[in-house]
Symmetry: C2
């Protein structure tokens, strides 16, 4: 395509609300524009990239025998009521009524709809397994849409659902799907990790996320180099520390004592004031677990992981009660809550406390803390568990090695749902033994528009985007330095034709703008290859081929150019991000 005919309005400045590279660069390169918070229009070059990612996803789904369907965005409330999620989903689900005042939502996901479809058509184990997928728009009214395509309110997703007669069969498909996800991400040239994940509102027991490693990622990956352990920080850890102080230590404990700490309530303040390290202080946090008050104790230098807390308490709703909400609880002293004498509030303690003796806690009195406090001696712990947010430096729950951290973008999530939906929706099949049984289900999502952003997060430099060959809007841009000079125009046009005939996706910069503008925009948009036709080169009978990733340049004899570019493009497609 001739660049003069392409609508790609570039920007000199980053958009005011853009915090990360992909958001900035998609706007600057004219790939994307904002319509409202978290709602975007894809412009032609952005749409081309999106279509390529979509096609990679489609090919890998088809390869594993998943069948493409297209389900509607509008979903009747009844379906969601039958699974119980109409009430469970909060304001993130966008709801509306039709002209007959019937309730609908805009699908944030499609478990209910697909289960309803399949239960009406698939009645026998003989028709199983069945895996259906779609590439379709999803709606989630995020509290804080941001980061461009990484956290939008309307976005493109591939979602797949599988139905099985037994768990073993689910596991086979789950593995196939995981391999397909790995291939999709690899074909986009991305570095990634597969991590253990929390299943959240989608449900099921086993789930894994595919995390693209990127500093802009909102997720933290906890991993161990010594073994293959890798988990989302939301769920990482999991193994309660079994080791604890022994009786010998117990004999040496000091006597509890109250200390004035006027105006010092945070861990930092108390640590400085008492000259005690934060890991000698125990934080007492008050939560409502299904509306019942509980106290949670964690070491002063750690945070509470609320997902783990929900697990340990088996509460379906966990709500933090902050100091400023304390007005209604006269027994609780804002900033100075502690476990000693905290009557009628069950205490949950993080396993890290097992190794602690003579620690500091709030005194349940204004401007006072207790020192030399010991569990089992000064207060009772109701239940132990792994309750803290796992961080780099802690021990690996699998091998005991030292854990590391990296930031990641969640691109895919695969779930072994089991019978969560089929049981609540009464979706059964006739099993081989003649009994009606609920389908065993899996579901699998990959963010298609999010992948586009993730690619940019891994592939950009200070000049702009660097597209991997597999998803570039065009593989090559031909840049005649001066379009007004007929020699340059002629060589450029011929190369353009030759490359089109060789099925290379090529654009020709036929604009009458300065070479500086052409180079800057080619670098910004990030075509993998630039074929420069200039006076100096032509005098030697050459064009110059610039590799966007390495910025390396090579002179190629004009006649040999198409062949060389085809070869480089082929190699680039095979090796993706690697130097070619």
């Amino acid at each position: 395509m001739r660049l003069s005919e392409v609508f790609f309005p570039t920007l000199k400045e980053d958009p005011a609300d853009a915090e990360i590279a992909s958001h900035k660069l998609m706007f600057r390169a004219g790939l994307l524009r904002k319509v409202a918070a978290g709602i975007y229009s894809f412009l032609p070059l952005g749409k081309r990239v999106l279509a390529k990612v979509e096609q990679i996803v489609r090919e890998e789904m088809d390869r594993i025998g998943a069948q493409e369907v297209l389900l509607p965005a509008l979903q009747p409330a009844d379906l969601w009521k039958s699974s119980g999620r109409w009430d469970q989903y909060g304001p993130e689900m966008m709801r509306l009524q039709d002209r007959g005042r019937r309730d609908f939502c805009l699908g944030p996901t499609h478990e209910e709809l697909i289960t309803d479809l399949v239960m009406r058509e698939v009645r026998s184990y003989r028709q199983l397994p069945l895996t259906l997928y779609q590439i379709q728009v999803k709606f989630r009214d995020e509290t804080r849409p941001r980061f461009g395509l990484l956290r939008g309110r309307e976005f493109l997703m591939k979602d797949a659902y599988s139905f099985h007669a037994n768990v073993e069969d689910l596991q086979v498909t789950y593995e196939k799907m995981s391999s397909a996800y790995a291939r999709i991400i690899e074909r986009c040239g991305l570095e990634y990790r597969v991590v253990e994940a929390a299943s959240g509102i989608i449900g099921g027991k086993v789930s894994q996320e595919f995390m693209v490693v990127a500093d802009a990622g909102e997720d933290v990956i906890i991993y161990c180099d010594a073994c293959s352990y890798s988990a989302n920080q939301e769920t990482a850890g999991g193994k309660v520390e079994e080791q604890q102080v022994n009786d010998a230590d117990d004999a040496k404990v000091s006597k509890i004592q109250k200390i004035e700490t006027p105006g010092h309530s945070t861990v930092d303040e108390v640590s400085r004031f008492l000259k005690v390290a934060p890991d000698r202080i125990v934080k007492t946090l008050i939560y409502k677990a299904d509306s019942k008050l509980i106290a949670v104790l964690v070491r002063g230098d750690t945070e509470v992981n609320e997902a783990k807390l929900a697990d340990l308490t088996s509460a379906s709703d966990i709500e933090f009660v902050s100091d400023k909400d304390f007005a209604v609880y006269p027994d609780l002293m804002p900033g100075f809550v502690g476990p000693v004498g905290l009557d009628n509030v069950p205490i949950f303690a993080d396993g890290m406390l097992r190794m602690m003796r003579d620690f500091v806690v709030g005194a349940n009195e204004k401007d006072a803390h207790l020192i030399n406090v010991n569990w089992d001696i000064d207060f009772e712990i109701g239940k132990w568990g792994d309750l803290h947010v796992t961080r780099a430096g802690e021990g690996c729950p699998v091998c005991g090695g030292v854990l590391k951290e990296a930031r990641g973008i969640e691109i895919g999530h695969v779930f072994q749902l089991g019978t969560k939906y089929s049981e609540t929706m009464n979706a059964n099949f006739l099993a081989e033994d003649g009994n009606l049984k609920p389908y065993i289900m899996g579901c699998y999502g990959i963010g298609v528009s999010r992948l586009v952003a993730a690619i940019i997060e891994q592939f950009h430099d200070e000049r702009g985007i660097i597209w991997p060959f597999s998803v570039a809007p065009f593989t090559v841009i031909i840049i005649p330095l001066n379009w007004e000079i007929s020699d340059q125009r002629r060589v450029a046009e011929r190369l353009y034709n030759d490359l089109q005939e060789a099925n290379i996706e090529v654009s020709l910069d036929d604009r009458s703008v300065s070479p500086g503008v052409k180079f800057a925009e080619a670098d910004l948009i990030g075509f993998p290859l630039q074929a420069v036709v200039g006076k100096r080169g032509l005098e030697k009978g050459c064009i110059e081929l610039k590799h966007r990733l390495s910025l390396r340049k090579e002179d190629i004899e004009i006649g040999a150019a198409p062949e060389r570019i085809v070869a480089v493009a082929q190699k680039g497609l095979e090796e993706l991000s690697r130097e070619v």
Copy 2:
């Protein structure tokens, strides 16, 4: 793909709410399922057809230099308020609020959004023309969703928008787009007509519809075989009949007279009771034009065309006032309204009345009519115009030939919008003369999912669907009569591999079901070719190739089968619906 692995739940019975062939057959062949009124899921074979139609549309758009974008479904109300359509669009537009109580709609179309996008980026005539398109889901809350994909509430559409510096340039793109639409419909093998159309809420002065001829169509096409005139009945006619009674006739008129017509108020009743043909009776209908009462006179055997009435009265809102609403107008006598003595109500008359003398009208008294009534003598007509619904048999407004009627499905609609949106939205560019001017715009829509249904309306028989080669889910189905017999299996598998290698889209019926079921389902789904592998054929070293359209069968020597099928498929693609 092996048919045993394809999810295509066929039905023996038509769905209860299906009235037309495409709706019935898409359900029966397992291509489509209903989620709610007017909201459907495409199953794998349906999705394959949809993707093919989508690709044809995309190729033809790209061919004329339109650039693909992807705009969101969620659109902020502010955009629609800036064009005034937030209030103009009735309940057909689906509306919702986000968590911040901001108003949004689900786009029924995208004029506002694209105009807003372009006005921010395109500031100079040098950047024009610009044509953008998308293939995207649309939402319209139809009063009465029905006919399956023909009138759905969520559907797939290709919409394009063009921006120009002047009208001549708009006309060039309008013509290109019209040609592209013609090619799209022809590539789907369809018979169609391009007709003059009413622009409706989209607006603009010039617009044409692409009508696929089909008995199930909701639109009526009025056309003339003697010239090229062709129009949607909504707008057909337009030329007021100039010929009228002359003074000589006037001398012969009879004297007005009141007649008792007890209980006879409709044209039919009065015609029978008075033994007067309906074309000697004049109907008087009461409308509110922008809330002001008017009377409309048409010949008894014709109907009022409200679109024409809106044009003639320049009213933006036309509302029929029926007999049962008359309670609030004591001067109006239900069933017996007439123009004589109808004070303070302006009278609009259809041009057909110009030729009428001594006609019958209501007497504005219960159970009475007036006979021998004459305009200009017994009452005054405020304004003449073409106000009736044009029907077959009337004179062509272009050449005077006899008009004909056909039913059609509106597949595409192209509009010369002019400055309707750019003026109200203040969307300007810097013109060559240095002045700011509003863009001249065009917009162009084609129903992608509706095309799928229209194809079936033209291509089906009592056995099922007959897909044109260009959009078939698979070109060939290989049917071994008995999958358990190794000879048949072997020949079928080899043919399957050979055809796949030859890039023919082929399915293999590898199911252990009876030949009867295989044939019936192949006919129902409508693969263009069936390659039957059976005992009798194999004894002669042959397979049998059945053409779905003609039901013609030919024996082909096994070794020659792939080559012959490739040739037939190629020819089928070139000639589409025609016999091959």
